[in-house]
Structure formats: structure tokens, C-alpha cells
């Protein structure tokens, strides 16, 4: 609980990202802070290169490109990122469903880092940077299955939030789920987090077996076909394995 000004500045930065391009006034309303405080913060963030004035309306602020140089280690040098791209597109072409690449952020959440859209008129939607809970999604459990058991227990001890009737909020059910994923090589989510959304995912492992990220194919409930699950699971797992291999080869 320290560095109030820094914490507040980062909150403001995040708010700008969500509402860009945004004015000082809009932000003061959003935070209930004095105008001068918000103004001073924006000027400081601008001088640091993290913010810039909108070209067309200079009273509006938006995120500067500087932030792109600040990325999680897993994406640094973009070896994972670059390695994943083509296999993801091929998987999308094979299944014609949206493919997501996600990385774990501590044990808190999975974060979407890349996306290849399907061509259907009805699509699932997650944006880059969006987060989801580890226990309630296919993408999260693909990671959990390859973490030390102590980590899974730690996650359980923090409490398992329920998002729908099918969320595995019960510790034993989650443990069984995770075992099954490790055995099968892929994870499945049927309406456990967002209603009407199903997904199949597989982990991308480091050379020493540490899970770095996961690939997932996600689709509306209406297009999910249980009979084809083994085939889809294999395809997703193969894609994840190919990405892992390419990453090491690079």
C-alpha cells in the first residue's frame, strides 16, 4: 500500500486504454478525482512517452506506441508469438473456428495474446488482453494440468468462483478434470465460463515441461459436436506441439 500516485497513474493509464481517445473531463468523472490531479497525471504519462494527444482532436488522449516495447517474457523476441502464428492459421482453416493463444498471468488468470478469427457470421469474441479464470476455461485447465500439484492446490485454496451451472467449482471435480486433461492431452469447456461458448485447448510446453501458453479453438455452443471431440482434441494438441517445436527450433 504505497506509492499512491504511481498506482493511480497506472489506473488512469488503463482507463485511457479502455476509453481512448478520452478527455480530461471524462476521466475526472470516471474517477471522481480533481481535474488538476488527472491533468497532471496525463501530462506526466505523456512526457514519459506512454500517452499522446490524438492527432485529430488534441484535447483527447490515447495510448502511445511505447507500451509495445513492454511485453511479458513469454512473448519477448516474439519467439512464441511468431512460432504460433502459422500453425494457428492452419488450425483455423481446418476447423473454421476462432483460435486463441493465451498465456497465464501468475495463478490469477489467463490472458489472450493472439487471435485468428473464423469466417462464420456467428463467432465467439475475446479481445487481445482479455482475461479469464484458470479453473473455469479450457485454456486455463490446459495450463493447470501441467503445473505442480501444489500450484493447483494453491489455486483451489483461493476459492473457485462459479460462472454457470457447469463450472467445476468443486475442488474434487476440478482435480479430476485436471487429471483427465493430463491424460488426454487436451481440455474441454462446455459453457463453464461464458454461456453458449464451448472450447477445446492444449498446452504449449517449455523444454522442461513448464506450460508457457495454450492454444484453444472456441465456438458457439450450437456448433459444438461431441462426437468429433476426440478428433478436435487431437488436432488442437498437434497444433500446440508443433508450436512448441517451432519455438525451440527458432
Amino acid at each position: 500500500m504505497e506509492m499512491k500516485s504511481v498506482t493511480r497513474s497506472l489506473r488512469i493509464l488503463e482507463a485511457v486504454a479502455q476509453h481512448q481517445p478520452v478527455t480530461v473531463g471524462e476521466l475526472t468523472k470516471l474517477f471522481g478525482l480533481p481535474k488538476s490531479t488527472v491533468q497532471r497525471t496525463l501530462v506526466t504519462l505523456n512526457e514519459a512517452g506512454w500517452l499522446r494527444a490524438n492527432r485529430k482532436d488534441t484535447t483527447r488522449w490515447e495510448i502511445g506506441a511505447r507500451v509495445l516495447a513492454v511485453r511479458p517474457a513469454a512473448l519477448q523476441g516474439s519467439s512464441l508469438f511468431a512460432a504460433a502464428r502459422e500453425p494457428m492459421i492452419r488450425l483455423r482453416d481446418t476447423l473454421n473456428e476462432t483460435i486463441h493463444l493465451s498465456v497465464p498471468d501468475a495463478l490469477q488468470s489467463m490472458v489472450v495474446v493472439d487471435r485468428v478469427d473464423c469466417h462464420h457470421a456467428v463467432r465467439t469474441f475475446y479481445g487481445i488482453g482479455d482475461t479469464s479464470p484458470l479453473h473455469a476455461t479450457a485454456t486455463g485447465r490446459a495450463i493447470l494440468a501441467h503445473l505442480p500439484k501444489a500450484d493447483v492446490e494453491e489455486l483451489i485454496s483461493h476459492g473457485l468462483q462459479s460462472f454457470s451451472e457447469s463450472t467445476p467449482a468443486d475442488p474434487d471435480r476440478l482435480r479430476a478434470e485436471v487429471e483427465r486433461v493430463r491424460a488426454d492431452g487436451y481440455s474441454v469447456n462446455l459453457n463453464q465460463y461464458r454461456p453458449d461458448v464451448c472450447a477445446v485447448a492444449a498446452p504449449i510446453l517449455d523444454e522442461d515441461g513448464t506450460p508457457l501458453a495454450s492454444v484453444a479453438v472456441s465456438m458457439p455452443d450450437s456448433r459444438y459436436d461431441a462426437a468429433r471431440l476426440p478428433e478436435w482434441g487431437r488436432l488442437v494438441a498437434d497444433t500446440a506441439a508443433e508450436i512448441a517445436a517451432r519455438r525451440l527450433g527458432a
Copy 2:
């Protein structure tokens, strides 16, 4: 010149990004700051979700995935990003040279936001988040050619740094270059920024003609063939136009 603690915290955040995973001690040496100051800053950034402890060595800090939710407007919802991907890969397959997608950051610099690598053993290398000057690169001049002339003059008034013998550091030469780019629809850079690196670029325009980003094919000097420039220029320009069209269609 205000909010010293905020400015410093952001500098530290950037340093973590560059050196991750990094310890408190390494950062104190890097900045010459007291240990306690660095320590306090890291804890604050961690609590804000921007940093996290490395899983394998908890005394080392790395960038958290939270930053991915903070992106420049041009990439928001990743319409540009998603639209660019497949045309870039096709261009790479056609030319077998590395393709970059870059966006302008104010009039300061171009920032690489995406990359598709070629298959040659010898490649040009720019990482995501890397920056380059607007006047000295193909990717920058593709943007300049579609900005109001006042902006070009403003850039000139800030001074044109020279990076090699062929850098267009002379205002009149740059103005002529920019005119030529507008007429041709593509820009060229022959060793003007980095030695031995050549590039051909074209702008991706908004519906009202504002340049949002540029696509560039870059290659080692040794593989550049002047005779094929018109053909390559046309291919790059076509790719840029296709990306612009896809972006609007999405």
C-alpha cells in the same frame, strides 16, 4: 516536470521489460538508486498487476500480462492487426523476405507492431516494439507521404538526424523523396538507417486518407535487386491496400 515517482516507476518498468527476469540489485546498479526505492517501486508495480515474480526464481521480476490490455488505439480490437496478418504472410511467401507492420508514434518514431519472418539464413532483425525515425526509413516515409505538409515541415524543423551517408538529412531532399513516395505509392530505403539493410514500404490508409500504419518488406543489401523494385513496390502497395480494405470490411 512533475510526478517524479511516476516517471521513475515507468522507467523502471521499461528496464524490467528489457532485462527480465531481473533482480532488485541489478536494477539498483542500472539506475544508481537506493535499494529501498527500487524495491518499493517494484512492490507497487506488482500490486498494480503490471509486474510479477518469476515462478522459478521468486526474487526475479518480470512483466505481467496485464500490459497486453493497454494498447494503442490503432490496434484496439485488433482490427488492423487481424486484418494485416494473412496478407503479410502471403507477401512473405511471395517474396521470401521479412515483413514488418509498423505504426507511427506521434511524429517521433515508427514502432514495429508485428513481424513475419523470411526463411533465409541471413535475415534483417527488428523486434516488436523497436522504433525507428520517420525520415530515415521506408516505413516512416510511407507515412510521411500521406500526412499534411505542415506535419512534414514540423518534423523537418526538429532536425533530421543522419545515420549513414545516404540518409536524406537535407530538408529539400526529404521533401522530394516524400513527393516521389506519394506519386509512386511506395517508399524505398537503401542503407539509409541501418547499414546493409534495404526496405520497400507502403501505407495503410484510414477511410479518410489518414495513414494508420505501414507494411514493409526488408532485406539485407545483398539480396536487393534494383531491377525488380517496381514489381516489389507494386506488391507491397497491393498488400497495404488489401489490409486497409479488410480492416474496413471487418
